[in-house]
Each structure stands twice: as structure tokens, then as C-alpha cells.
């Protein structure tokens, strides 16, 4: 499935999310199951399948990680869990350190440290997103090595996402 085609846009990392969201809403207006309550069973089924496809496409396009994965998949690079390229040793090291720091902050119930880590991780994921945007902007010129590099960036972004999810769970825990 090409989520970009489903939403009527050309594949790119830089997308006008507000415009795509509007398209998604228009498509939902046409396809949502609520519109087909009075319809025949087969019509309901096919509308449902389309609505699911449109929602899936929107889920992919609006999320930088899934958007990047999908762009790589369109260029023949297998993506998803288990297909990440090996991370650079220094990044692995950074990951381990951050994890450790987070669990220490949690033990110490140090909310300020947790907030600091969140801000750092957010800044780092913005940097990685910028790098992805530049990498994909090179378009057809990208070599397999370039693509592998981008796939690595996606892995980093996923790490920061998990870290941020954990941070917000810990924030809730500390606030409760």
C-alpha cells in the first residue's frame, strides 16, 4: 500500500500535515461506517475496508517514523521491527546511558531530572527529523548507502519515541 497515493499526495518526508488532515477528513466524510448504516452489507464492507485504508494511511503519514519507514519501503528498503540496521556503537552507548539515567531519576523521584531528559530527547528527535528531511529531499539521487543511513536515523527516532513514552509514564507516576 502507498499511503501517500491513498491520500492523493506525492511521497515525500516534508508534508503539509494540515492539508493532508483536511483530505483525511474529506475522505472520512465519504467513507465512515456511520454513512453506510443504511447501506447493503457488501457496500458497508467495501466502505469499511476503504475507511480503514484511509485511516491507516493517515496514521502513517502523520507520524514521522512511520512516514520515513514507508518512504524507505517505497524505495525497496525493508523496514519495521527486526529490520533495523545495526546501530552505531556510540548511539547504543548513548541509549544505555539515557536509560540508566532515567531509571535513576525515577528511583530518586527526581521530577526535574526527568523533565530535563524529556527536553533533551525532544530536541534530539527534532534534529534527527531534520536530518531525515534533508536526506529524503535528495530524492532519486540517494544511493543504497544513503538509504541505509536514513534507516539508521529512523531507528534513532524510534528510540527517542520510546524514551519519551516512558518519560511521560514516569511523569504520571511521580505526579500521582
Amino acid at each position: 500500500m502507498d499511503p501517500f497515493a491513498t491520500l492523493g499526495i506525492s511521497p515525500s518526508f516534508d508534508v503539509d500535515l494540515a492539508a493532508v488532515e483536511k483530505t483525511h477528513r474529506e475522505l472520512s466524510r465519504a467513507l465512515h461506517p456511520d454513512r453506510y448504516l443504511g447501506a447493503s452489507a457488501s457496500e458497508r464492507r467495501s466502505a469499511l475496508l476503504k475507511a480503514v485504508e484511509v485511516n491507516e494511511a493517515w496514521g502513517v503519514v502523520r507520524d514521522p517514523i512511520r512516514r520515513a519507514e514507508s518512504l524507505l519501503a517505497l524505495r525497496g528498503v525493508a523496514m519495521g521491527e527486526g529490520h533495523e540496521p545495526k546501530s552505531a556503537p556510540e548511539f547504543l552507548m548513548e541509549m544505555l546511558e539515557q536509560r540508566e539515567a532515567l531509571s535513576e531519576a525515577r528511583q530518586a523521584r527526581d521530577a526535574a531530572a526527568v523533565h530535563r531528559m524529556a527536553a533533551q530527547a525532544e530536541a534530539r528527535s527534532r534534529e534527527v527529523e531534520r536530518a531525515l528531511s534533508e536526506g529524503f529531499a535528495r530524492g532519486e539521487a540517494a544511493s543504497p548507502a544513503d538509504l541505509a543511513g536514513l534507516a539508521g536515523k529512523v531507528g534513532e527516532l524510534r528510540f527517542y519515541r520510546r524514551l519519551l513514552d516512558e518519560v511521560s509514564a514516569i511523569e504520571d507516576e511521580l505526579a500521582a
Binding site: 477528513r25 448504516l37 509514564a169
Partner: protein, 631 residues
């Protein structure tokens, strides 16, 4: 003296909206394009969500049941909604009331079951069904012919709780058009009457649940941007906080508290809370005890931690939606507990603006549900309004080491499907355990378990060779089903799992039969009625399609479709459900190709509309460039 209108037995039944609340429930319908709550004979619209089971086998619902609560605390189920979809071993379950629980027998589902009136055992689903049945009867007294229902649930309800709610409605003999999130219903009531666009927060502090929802209203599309809340927080907790204070002031330690006393003190606490809405000071009086003075300031101090918990959830929901409090164009208040002045002040402070409260906060959800029911039953302006819901919590699957693989991220728009592929860990492994969990945490243990089952009969293969595809489907009601199949073998296996606490169709059917006096007979009557309702809807939709997109018809197609419509009309005048079903299928066949063409057109239009916009913008942009050059 009431005035009567002539009832038309041939008119379509009235769709209804039901707010099945923790403390109170009510039913509403749309009359002359405006939603109104249905009142009972005493002109009361709120039905307390209380069910009393008497020793003589009688079941009493509503205000009469409330009066029985003090005398029969264990047999009168209050706030049954709190127990919906809960396990009996859940530590919260025991905290929630003075009830006696039946232990599940070996091999039985781990569902909460109350022991009432001596030996009777009822589930929260059955208790809720009694409330829904009472609401349905109240609607039938007013409207005679009641059609499909939209039933609301807290946005934060998980899959098991939604399933339980739907089961209760079916058990009450209601045709459920849609489960609707309560805050979305409230926004619908406001949005439709005020025709406002913008980003709204719905702050719903009910008796037993707190929900906050960030909603975007744009061109008639209501989109839930994020939801948050706490399904264990509400006005009841204010009563409890106040009751603890009263018990301490009266000198009761825990050993001397009987269920009867707790019930009396809770009732008095609730009265004091209501009085403090307008008074600065009240005297609480528990029968047979000394009076206790409570000031509003003390009450506000007691509930402050509860308000702060709502604030945390609000900030979280704002963050999830990518908004700051200042971005919010309006805050809608829902739930009786928002009448407490301290709550209004807190909300105004939190969002930096006075909340909207012009619609009765107790009724607004049911009124919105009625509007939605009317739309879905095809009597309202279907083309104007659409609700897009999201799943409130991520859904994932357990992978090695107790880690969760998030398959559907939270805030995905429903309906949605996500697939993930796994493989076997051991040689010749023939079974594969699939464990679906809900939540944001990385480890399975920190999330909620939703469904666990084993896909069996995989042919023996070396480890890593089998390819198991697990698909999670979430429908527009937010209900989950899980399908699993092994992809490398010729035999495709599909297993559909009902969530742990829901009832399967056979159980519901059996319970329905048990509940009806003339089981089979009544069921046949219902099938016929349902068949007729479906038939009239489908024929109307088909004819509307012919009118709207007649240019897409191929030669002879119109005649075939019209003939099928007429045949179905004829069948629904008869009284054979099977004949109606057969002709529904025939009409379905006749319209298949036409429907596909219509859908493609709708999709093309949806995309085109937006790309046209973009083309115009780029033309404008190009013009700007030329002008700049010309200068």
C-alpha cells in the same frame, strides 16, 4: 391535561440517545429537530442508576431503588458502571462498595458477580441492562415506537468496558446504532446548536468517571484529537471524601462502620455537597447522630486533590493533541459534579477561560446522543455531521521477554486495522500464544491485559519458519477483535477473540430468552421488526443513491435495482423474516457494482476538492513571484 398527537403505526420508530451514567441515566430523542430528554410521570428526566433486588424476586430501578438502598445495602447495586468489564480479582473491585461477590467457579470467566437477595447472582452487565430496560420503557411510554439507540460510554472506557456496555444494551432489547463517547456527544449537543468551529476541551466530571477530550470541530466534522481521564474519579469520590470526614467527626472508627451506616453517611455527604453549591456552610445530620458543621472552604480543601488529578489528565490530553491551554476556544462542562463552584473555578483557571455551561450538564450527553441517533437513523442532516473517534490507548502484542510490540498507537482514528507478523521460537512449535495488551508502557506487566489465546495446529516446522500474522481490528464503536493466521501453510486459520469480559453472542441470546416471558415467540417478533427496519433503511439508501448518482448507472441497471427495491418493499409488508432477509441480499447483489462506482466517485471528489485548493494556492504563489519579478 396532556394533549395527544395521533400515533402513526407506519411511521418509522423514534431513534433514541441514552446516557448510561454512573450515578444517573437518562434517555432523549429529537422532537421537531431539537433534542429533548424524556420525562417520567413525575416530570423527572434523571433515572438514578440504582437497581435493587428484593427477596421476593422483584427488581426495582431508579428513585424507588435509591430509597431501598439504606435498608438493603448489599442488594441495592449503586454505580454498577464502575464494575463494567472488571475482573473479580481486581483489587479496585473490593474497594467499590458494600457488596457481596460470588467467587467464579473453576473454568468460569473472571467477571464481577454480585450476590443479591439471598441466592441470586447478577453481573454488572445484567444490572446495567435493568437500567437500560427502564429507560427503554420510559421512552416507549412517551413515544410508543422506539427504534435504534445510541448509547454513550466514557471516552476512557477500554475495550472490555465498551463490549460490556453493548452487551447490556442488547440484553435490554435495544438495537445499538453506535456507542458514542460521552464528551463527543456533549460537543455534538453544543456544536449543532451553536454552529461553532474551533478546538474544544470537554471536561466531564460525572459521578464516577472523569474524562477530558480535546475535540476539533471543522466543517461539520467532529474529530477527537486526544482523550484522557481517570475511570476511577468523580463526584462519588467527593461524597466519599466528605463521608470520611463525617465519620471521623462522629467518632466512628473502621470497626464500628456497618454497610448501613456507610450508606447513610454517604447519602448525607451527597446532600451536603449539593447544599454547598449555594451555601457557605451546612449542618450535616446523620439519623441518630449529632450534627456536624461543614464549611464550603473545608469541602473545597477536601476535594482539592481530586481536582488536581483532573488537572493532570487535562494537561496530558492537551499535550497529546499538541495544544497549549491558550489554543482552546472553549471548554464544555459535563456531569453533575461540575455544578460545584470550586470545579468551575478550577477549570477556568486551568484553561484560562470561563467554561461553557448553558446546557444542563446532566442532560447534555443524552441530548447529544439523541442528535447522533437521529442522524444515524437517517432522519437528520447526515451530510453535515460526522464524528471521527480515536482509540484512547495503544494496543500491542506481547513479544519475547515480556516486552510490548505496539501495533496500533493511541489516538489512531477508528475504524482501523493493524497487522504484525511474528514467528515461532522453537523447532516443531505447533501452538503460538498471542497476548493483546492495552497501554503505553513498554513492559507487559505495566499494561492492561485484554485478550490471550493460543493459535493451535501450526504444522511442525523449524524455529523461525512459521509466519504468524496477527491483525487487530477496532471498529467505529472502539470494539476490538483479534484475528490470527499462519501464512506459510495452505490452510489459513482465523481466530476471532472476544475480549475477556464481554459475552459471546450465544450467551446474550440465551440471557435474552431467559429474560423474556415468551422467549422464542418474542424473538421471532423482534426478528421481523428488525428485518423491517433494516429493509426500509436499505431501500431508502438505494433510492437515494439512484437519485444522487443516476449518471453512473449502466443500461438496465436502474430497472434491476428498482425491481429489487419493490420486491423488498413487498416482502417487508409480509411477516416472514427469512423472506425479507433473502430480498435484502438480492437488493445487495443488484446494487453492488453501482455502489462501488459511487464510492470511487466519492473518494475522487474528496481528494480532488483538496488538490484543487492546492492548485489554486500554487497559482497564487506563482503570480506573486511574477509580480515580484516585474517590480
Amino acid at each position: 391535561m396532556a394533549l395527544f398527537e395521533i400515533f402513526d403505526p407506519k411511521a418509522p420508530p423514534h431513534p433514541i440517545g441514552i446516557d448510561l451514567g454512573t450515578t444517573n441515566s437518562l434517555v432523549a430523542y429529537v422532537k421537531n429537530e431539537r433534542p429533548v430528554a424524556v420525562a417520567d410521570c413525575d416530570l423527572e428526566t434523571l433515572v438514578p442508576s440504582v437497581v435493587a433486588y428484593l427477596p421476593n424476586g422483584d427488581v426495582v430501578v431508579g428513585r424507588r431503588a435509591v430509597r431501598l438502598a439504606a435498608e438493603h445495602p448489599r442488594d441495592t447495586i449503586v454505580s454498577a458502571k464502575r464494575f463494567m468489564g472488571r475482573g473479580s480479582d481486581d483489587p479496585e473491585t473490593r474497594r467499590l462498595g458494600p457488596y457481596e461477590f460470588a467467587e467464579p467457579a473453576a473454568g468460569e470467566a473472571n467477571t464481577v458477580r454480585f450476590k443479591v437477595a439471598g441466592s441470586r447472582v447478577v453481573t454488572p452487565v445484567e444490572v446495567s441492562a435493568e437500567i437500560l430496560r427502564a429507560l427503554k420503557a420510559q421512552a416507549e411510554d412517551a413515544l410508543r415506537n422506539v427504534g435504534g439507540a445510541v448509547v454513550t460510554v466514557p471516552a476512557y472506557f477500554d475495550d472490555a468496558q465498551r463490549q460490556a456496555t453493548k452487551d447490556a444494551a442488547r440484553l435490554a432489547g435495544l438495537e445499538v446504532l453506535r456507542l458514542l463517547n460521552e464528551p463527543t456527544a456533549a460537543a455534538l449537543a453544543y456544536g449543532l446548536e451553536k454552529r461553532t468551529n474551533g478546538t474544544f476541551a470537554v471536561y466531564d466530571l460525572g459521578g464516577g468517571t472523569f474524562d477530558v477530550t480535546i475535540l476539533l470541530l471543522d466543517d461539520g466534522v467532529f474529530q477527537v484529537r486526544s482523550t484522557g481521564g481517570d475511570s476511577q474519579l468523580g463526584g462519588d469520590d467527593m461524597d466519599r471524601a466528605l463521608a470520611r470526614e463525617l465519620l471521623a467527626a462522629l467518632g466512628f472508627d473502621e470497626q464500628r462502620q456497618t454497610p448501613q451506616l456507610i450508606r447513610l453517611v454517604l447519602d448525607e455527604a451527597r446532600r451536603a455537597k449539593h447544599a454547598l453549591t449555594t451555601l457557605d456552610e451546612v449542618e450535616a445530620e446523620v439519623p441518630g447522630q449529632k450534627r456536624v458543621k461543614i464549611t464550603r472552604a473545608r469541602f473545597e480543601e477536601l476535594i482539592r486533590p481530586l481536582l488536581e488529578r483532573t488537572g493532570l489528565a487535562c494537561r496530558r490530553a492537551l499535550k497529546d493533541a499538541g495544544h497549549k491551554p491558550a489554543d482552546i476556544d472553549g471548554v464544555i462542562l459535563v456531569g453533575g459534579a461540575t455544578r460545584v463552584p470550586a470545579v468551575r473555578r478550577y477549570v477556568a483557571e486551568l484553561f484560562g477561560k470561563e467554561p461553557l455551561a448553558d446546557i444542563d450538564p446532566d442532560q447534555v450527553v443524552a441530548l447529544g446522543a439523541a442528535v447522533q441517533a437521529d442522524l444515524l437513523a437517517g432522519q437528520g442532516r447526515t451530510d453535515d455531521v460526522l464524528l471521527l473517534d480515536v482509540i484512547p490507548l495503544s494496543l500491542g502484542i506481547e513479544v519475547g521477554g515480556g516486552v510490548v510490540d505496539k501495533v496500533l498507537p493511541r489516538n489512531s482514528t477508528t475504524p482501523c486495522v493493524a497487522r504484525a507478523t511474528y514467528t515461532t521460537q522453537e523447532d516443531k512449535q505447533t501452538g503460538f500464544e498471542i497476548h493483546v495488551v492495552q497501554g503505553e508502557r513498554e513492559m507487559v506487566a505495566d499494561n492492561r491485559s485484554l485478550a490471550r489465546f493460543t493459535l493451535k495446529g501450526i504444522p511442525p516446522m523449524p524455529a523461525g519458519m512459521a509466519r504468524l500474522e496477527v491483525a487487530l481490528h477496532v471498529d467505529a464503536d472502539g470494539l476490538l477483535s483479534v484475528h490470527a493466521k499462519e501464512l506459510t501453510t495452505a490452510i489459513e486459520q482465523t481466530v476471532t477473540v472476544k475480549p475477556s469480559y464481554g459475552l459471546d453472542d450465544a450467551t446474550v441470546e440465551k440471557m435474552l430468552l431467559d429474560a423474556l416471558d415468551h422467549g422464542e415467540e418474542d424473538l421471532a417478533v423482534r426478528r421481523l421488526a428488525e428485518g423491517r427496519v433494516d429493509a426500509s433503511r436499505i431501500v431508502a439508501a438505494a433510492r437515494k443513491g439512484l437519485q444522487a448518482d443516476g449518471d453512473l448507472l449502466e443500461a438496465g441497471e436502474r430497472a434491476r435495482i428498482e425491481a429489487a427495491c419493490d420486491a423488498l418493499d413487498e416482502a417487508s409488508r409480509g411477516d416472514e423474516p427469512s423472506r425479507i432477509r433473502a430480498r435484502i441480499d438480492a437488493l445487495d447483489d443488484a446494487t453492488k457494482a453501482f455502489a462501488a462506482r459511487r464510492m470511487n466517485r466519492a473518494i475522487a471528489r474528496a481528494i480532488e476538492g483538496k488538490s484543487l485548493d492546492r492548485v489554486e494556492k500554487s497559482v497564487e504563489h506563482a503570480k506573486g513571484v511574477e509580480e515580484a519579478h516585474a517590480r
